[in-house]
């Protein structure tokens, strides 16, 4: 049997939860007809349009409806389609979903899952390619997972639907139809995981960049420890800090502008907690601080790529 793609694995996990938990509902644009990327294929046929509900193009209200459903005892799963659309749903996500448990004095959890795809690589231009991790991870009360493989995607959907808090599953655009598995794929989606052990350098990445890191590391003579940072919020730094205390070097890859939060926070955590173990300045490879261009050549130049990763590893280990 062919291994499932990232989207198929996530879909199967969603279907499983719909079958075992009748509180689970799916809301989004075109979800009753399979979803724009196939995430909800066949679900309305099995579970009906009462639970697999097409919505108007009203991201703000729909996210608010989902918050209300969660307050009312349901477990809504919102397909927010593109990560860029977080902007339209941001009041409900940031000012409401993330804060209700706190302001209610712990009496009202908000079990809400948001699935959203982000990242450049498919030439969709400046408003349909962003990763707004920095925004999502700045608001205490939201949990953010960035799965890197089909198994991890299924795991992220599973734990998000089981969790009492709002969880955003940030799916990497270029992984959607990938079948590539990773070592230690069965690890908890909540925790950073070592996908390759090494002694010369710690390379922290998430999503598609984990795969690029593995490829780059395979072509260098250096012994690279690759850590898949699966939980972006609250950012799971511990394993990275522990690893750097052994390797003495840190390279962070992230698909955000250099001023984005995730890579900078990892570097800050290592600087604070493993500073005296460092043999070299920590380094980040991120996107430049520009909107995302549409043309293939331009977008490729914008994205963190394998050659840059390889060069950075070699410079850090040999330099």
């Amino acid at each position: 049997m062919t291994a499932p793609t990232f989207v198929e694995a996530a879909r199967d996990a969603l279907e499983h939860h719909l079958a075992i938990d009748d509180r689970v509902m799916v809301l989004g644009e075109d979800v009753a007809t399979g979803g724009p990327f196939g995430l909800t294929k066949g679900l309305s046929q099995r579970f009906g349009t009462e639970r697999i509900r097409n919505t108007p193009i009203s991201e703000g209200a729909v996210m608010g409806v989902a918050v209300g459903l969660a307050l009312g005892g349901r477990r809504p799963f919102v397909d927010l389609m593109f990560n860029d659309f977080v902007t339209l749903a941001s009041d409900q996500l940031f000012n409401h979903a993330a804060k209700l448990h706190y302001t209610s004095g712990g009496r009202r959890p908000v079990p809400l899952t948001v699935w959203t795809i982000g990242g450049a690589g498919t030439r969709w231009g400046a408003q349909h390619s962003q990763r707004l991790d920095g925004w999502l991870t700045q608001v205490p009360g939201l949990k953010v997972l960035a799965p890197s493989s089909p198994v991890a995607a299924a795991g992220a959907v599973r734990v998000a639907l089981d969790d009492p808090d709002p969880v955003v599953v940030l799916a990497d655009r270029t992984l959607l139809y990938s079948r590539s598995c990773l070592p230690r794929d069965g690890a908890s989606p909540w925790r950073s995981r070592i996908v390759q052990a090494g002694t010369d350098l710690t390379l922290a990445a998430s999503g598609r960049l984990v795969h690029l890191a593995l490829d780059a590391a395979a072509t260098t003579g250096a012994s690279v420890e690759i850590i898949d940072v699966q939980r972006l919020a609250p950012l799971d730094c511990d394993l990275v800090v522990e690893s750097v205390s052994r390797t003495g070097r840190l390279l962070v890859l992230h698909d955000e502008a250099w001023c984005g939060a995730t890579a900078a926070t990892l570097v800050a955590a290592v600087s604070e907690r493993a500073f005296w173990a460092l043999d070299a300045p920590p380094r980040r490879l991120t996107s430049p601080a520009t909107p995302i261009p549409a043309a293939a050549v331009l977008e490729d130049a914008y994205m963190v790529g394998g050659d840059a990763i390889l060069a950075a590893i070699n410079e850090m280990v040999n330099g």
């Binding site: 729909v62 307050l71 302001t103 808090d165």
Partner: protein
């Protein structure tokens, strides 16, 4: 509209209105003890009283930063409300919510948004979940006229009608008409016209008349409970002048029930105060002034005792700030 007679019983509307009024008056009188901002509901007690009478077990309520009257009228513990506004450690919210996010799940107020229009779509989700779990239950959704400036209200009206959700939308409208417009910021002729453009039937009512508000809201709520889909009430209540400043101020003095016997002069109490309007209705229905005074004395004593109980509670401890960020850390 058919006029059926609401009985001349002070417990029906006056008592919940007074709970709200005395609560807010005490807050203003003791404003020096409040560190942050707060909003009062003075002049908007008609809808709160109607809510208190129409609310049934299983119904939910979304309100706004101007939430005091809704909670007080529904019978929420005034001491817990005072404590939360004063930053005291008495209720589960432990000073983390403040005036603008008051809740009481025991009366169906599960969360209160302080973002203009923020709670409106929540009512749809609550109506969906609630009506499936308990057919006939409704979500009462309160918001101000300013919320019509936000897209969420228009999106929610449309979606509620599209999905025939049992939502009673209540706009506490203290905006002034502006020529042919509903108000200075809406080009539509009326707020009801906007709701009806989204296929949500609605009616406007004079918010200064608690009995008229009750009758209108009762009819709309019955239609919503009967699965007719959402309805909209435009509750037209003139703004109380004490709300025209950044912080509420004592613009009209402590409400005196005996003033209900007077309608002379051009004071707010003489013409626009819904509490005294209800007193007048009761007086004309044969209820003696003495009885109204007794009801007020009882409610005022409850409010005074609640404030004392809140003051006696300890100040919320710093460590409370760090708890309950998420349910599963």
């Amino acid at each position: 509209m058919s006029q059926h007679v609401i009985c001349a019983d002070p417990a029906l509307l006056l008592e919940p209105m007074l709970r709200a009024r005395r609560f807010d008056e005490l807050l203003i009188a003791n404003a020096g003890e409040i560190r942050g901002h707060y909003h009062v509901s003075i002049g908007l007690e008609s809808t709160a009283a109607a809510l208190a009478r129409l609310h049934r077990a299983g119904d939910t309520v979304t309100t706004t930063y101007r939430n005091h009257a809704h909670l007080a009228a529904l019978g929420s513990d005034l001491a817990v409300m005072f404590a939360e506004v004063l930053g005291r450690d008495l209720g589960p919210q432990r000073g983390r919510a403040g005036s603008t996010h008051l809740i009481d799940p025991t009366v169906g107020v599960l969360h209160t948004s302080a973002m203009v229009s923020g709670g409106v779509p929540h009512a749809l989700g609550l109506a969906f979940a609630g009506s499936r779990a308990r057919p006939g239950s409704v979500a009462f959704c309160f918001f101000g006229d300013g919320a019509f400036g936000e897209g969420a209200v228009h999106e929610s009206l449309n979606l509620a009608a599209l999905w025939r959700l049992p939502v009673v939308f209540v706009c506490e409208n203290n905006g002034l008409r502006h020529g042919d417009q509903a108000n200075a910021f809406q080009s539509a002729a009326s707020l009801v016209a906007i709701a009806e453009a989204h296929a949500v039937a609605g009616v406007a009512v004079d918010g200064r008349s608690p009995a008229a508000v009750y009758e209108a809201m009762e009819r709309l709520t019955a239609e919503v409970r009967g699965s007719a889909g959402p309805r909209f009430l435009d509750d037209q209540a003139p703004q109380w002048e004490g709300n025209r400043t950044m912080f509420p101020h004592d613009a009209t003095g402590r409400t005196a029930i005996e003033d209900a016997t007077r309608t002379d002069g051009d004071s707010w109490h003489a013409h626009d105060d819904p509490v005294l309007a209800e007193c007048r209705r009761l007086l004309s229905g044969g209820v003696p002034l003495d009885e109204l005074m007794r009801v007020d004395a009882r409610v005022s004593a409850i409010a005074d005792e609640a404030l004392s109980r809140a003051r006696a509670a300890p100040v919320a401890p710093p460590e409370a700030a760090l708890a309950d960020v998420v349910a599963a850390p």
